[in-house]
Symmetry: C2
Subunit: 491 residues, 2 copies
């Protein structure tokens, strides 16, 4: 398997597209903008799901499932929400096909037109709040902490595997609370959980903050987000959590009786991460040789490749390897012993490098004689000879080391790509040049934000959550500003 | 919580509908034919998923994800397949909404009409085989063993929670093989896995067999199935596995190079179970007091209800109960200690009976003095006093006993409701009377099958897999028959 991978410096975007396909993560389907997630890619997504699901359940959330379809009238009930999604809705209008009378094939049966069109959910606030009206009567029914794993559809015109697809997989949490403060706390909690997941499991450093009004979710009063930086200096929004105020409760008339017996509208949040995280994972760590996966999310953590001539040598190697495989598995390490005779070791090395397997062991005649393994780590491409009796301990420590090392590498890159600027010229220079995050003063108006976006393609990624207050002047208009905000070009 | 549940004898169908809603499994949504699966119901489904997924992976299958939408032209490629699904397809025709010019609200934007309509997948053979054409070139790529967990849509006119809904959740396996025999073996293997899951985990006895030609999956050469019997004497098809021959490989031109270098079409299977299993689970075991859940699938296996007056008594009880909860959890038993002060013990007893929690512990002042718990099992409603030091062992053995007992009860019911008949009059009498499965001779023609269905509403559920060959005469036409087949009215 020759990798033939375009290098990042040559064409980052092409490198990404090729890598996703060649590493067997996903590919385009025959359906415009919809991807096929291949088994290797899906195995990574399953690991992400399992960990997130655990974190959601540990914080009291339960899973449920709501309909794929949303009646058009539901979507219309919250004004800014429908405004935000109307332009990218897949619309179901009919419920039957039939044979054309002229024999030209199967056509839509015009007699089977729906009375009301159904929208394939772009997000589920409306159908869920229509349900919550039935579920919530009293303060005793609150908080209601629900999550859903689902597919959603947003008809994007320009799509890219994982990063922007017409259909994608995600989880969407939808919670209901008795007080504003409790809902705000929930929205913040979920942002922190997403950040913890990104940092600890994906090894992706993220910056937490809130969105400006114009970048908020359609229907939210506040949108919290985590922002990551890719190796090409562009930012990627990796997760969002919304404080929805009482907007949806009012649109769907969801009230509860307080302890004091008063009727009040419920307070809401929603929050989600999607298969877009797969794109962030790939773009943060991978290199010109292929994927680099964090051990915690790698479907195969260790691969063992035998180097042999003839069955006799293979048998001798297997005699050594089989108990090792067993021991590693007993320690919860996923290991693959690849003794296929249809491919040469060099081909296998390339393949597992491309697929980002964190640790590769090779064992040949000389190792057998010396009682050693050649241990190669994917992140640094370093190899060393390790005594057989030490190899399990070595692998265990590598799992930890690699996880930490790739996080540190990504963090170093990000820290080297956060620039403070004080003038618009300097801003443009950085944005056009080295890229990355730029901290600058802004006057707080959507007009200035729009102008910057139009002139530089950079957007405000977030207002930092724990930034120091620092008074200054907007780099564009010179008007007063109370703190710097974070700009970047973004995916 | 008064249960107010209609009894089975009064109206079985009404009992089922009420139970599903009252036990918090699912409810109808505002979208025609689409259900909301509530957290308690979804927790059962998650347990089913986890177990099935494990069994699939243990037999070498991997998960992947394919698009929700299927271009109309794909669906049309396999003639009998489109014939089978055309009448119940949700069709996406547009990709945008807009504000009506007359201000009447949000309408479909007629300028955003799709060039080719998209069908919301009713099943994924066509989109998957379009993909497999790219994945399969050589015998080295086979077998390809893939499963997908997904939502599908079939526009049913008459729907019932879990049993028949417009949208439902399922898994669909799609495999590709080099030889006919390997594909047949795979289809049979999956039927056996489904049967094992039904018997061992759901405690639902099933009969294995093959479908007659007219009951086969649209596009299959053979459909294997498992059939269960509900308490009203009606059968329920609980899972199917299809040998698809080379039909889809031919329709989508999927060929592989054999070891000898010849180009041949691939052999296929597909197999699935759905949220319909939830209906089977409810209807097999539950009684007039509510759900009865098998311990292996119960989200809460043990509930502990304290009976107390005042906080001091509760504290004394909690001091006993807390370590017990911890010990049970350490043994992998899911336990809930319900010390809510907003509801009385009687209310709680009713609630957990309704929700089918296998074991209920109660502890009051007298128990505290005597060092005992009152242990009640949901399946038999028997109660006994158990010494505190024996209670863990008691619970552990009850988990096993209840699982076995409800299976045995269901099996006894089924065995008492399989009737051999030799005349059509006798057949009608049984079908109209006690119901259940009926074993009878049939001449093997679709005409006779249709006539029986029309006259009695009974269908051939399956041709038994391991039935003894027994020559006889068709009960309707008197023509020769080589073995009895299994009839029933069915869901």
């Amino acid at each position: 398997m020759g990798k033939n991978l375009t290098s990042r410096s040559e064409d980052y975007s092409k490198w990404y597209n090729e890598l996703v396909v060649k590493a067997d993560l996903a590919e385009n389907s025959g359906v415009r903008g919809c991807m096929v997630i291949k088994p290797y890619g899906f195995a990574i997504w399953e690991k992400m799901q399992a960990q997130l699901d655990k974190m959601f359940k540990e914080t009291g959330h339960e899973n449920a499932y709501f309909p794929l379809f949303i009646p058009k009238s539901y979507l219309s009930k919250e004004a800014s929400h429908v405004e935000g999604f109307a332009k990218e809705c897949a619309v179901v209008t009919h419920y039957r096909l039939k044979n054309a009378e002229d024999g030209s094939g199967i056509i839509v049966d015009e007699d089977a037109k729906l009375e009301e069109e159904l929208i394939v959910r772009p997000t589920s606030e409306t159908i869920i709040w229509d349900t919550y009206r039935r579920w919530i009567q009293s303060y005793r029914d609150l908080p209601l902490l629900i999550n859903q794993w689902a597919n959603v559809v947003r008809w994007e015109m320009r799509t890219r595997l994982f990063l922007r697809t017409a259909e994608f997989l995600w989880q969407e949490g939808h919670t209901a609370h008795a007080t504003r403060q409790e809902a705000v706390d929930e929205a913040e909690q979920m942002m922190h959980i997403y950040a913890e997941f990104a940092e600890e499991h994906m090894a992706v450093p993220v910056i937490k903050g809130t969105k400006t009004e114009s970048e908020r979710f359609a229907g939210a009063e506040e949108t919290y987000c985590i922002e990551a930086l890719m190796q090409d200096g562009k930012a990627l929004q990796a997760g969002t959590s919304h404080f929805l105020g009482q907007n949806f409760a009012k649109a769907f008339d969801v009230k509860f009786a307080t302890r004091e017996g008063k009727q009040e509208h419920v307070w809401a949040t929603s929050w989600g991460v999607s298969t877009r995280l797969m794109g962030a994972l790939v773009m943060t760590h991978s290199d010109d040789n292929g994927l680099v996966l964090p051990p915690k999310l790698a479907p195969i953590q260790v691969v063992i490749v035998p180097i042999y001539k003839g069955l006799e040598q293979l048998d001798a190697i297997s005699e050594k390897v089989n108990p090792l495989v067993k021991e590693l598995r007993s320690k919860g390490i996923s290991v693959k012993y690849d003794k296929r005779d249809t491919h040469k070791p060099g081909f296998k090395f390339n393949e597992y490098e491309l697929k980002g397997v964190p640790v590769r062991l090779a064992i040949g005649q000389r190792d057998l004689e010396n009682g050693t393994y050649e241990v190669a780590r994917r992140d640094t491409l370093q190899k060393e000879s390790v005594k057989a009796e030490d190899v399990v301990a070595k692998i265990e420590s590598l799992m930890q080391e690699i996880q930490e090392n790739i996080h540190k590498k990504a963090l170093d890159y990000r820290e080297a790509h956060i620039t403070k600027v004080d003038s618009y010229d300097e801003f443009k220079e950085v944005i056009e040049g080295k890229g990355g995050f730029v901290l600058a003063h802004w006057d707080g108006t959507p007009e200035t934000e729009d102008r910057i976006k139009e002139e530089t393609k950079a957007t405000i990624r977030c207002i930092l959550l724990d930034a120091e207050k620092e008074e200054g002047k907007c780099m564009v208009t010179g008007k007063p500003s109370i703190q710097r905000v974070l700009f970047a070009k973004a995916y």
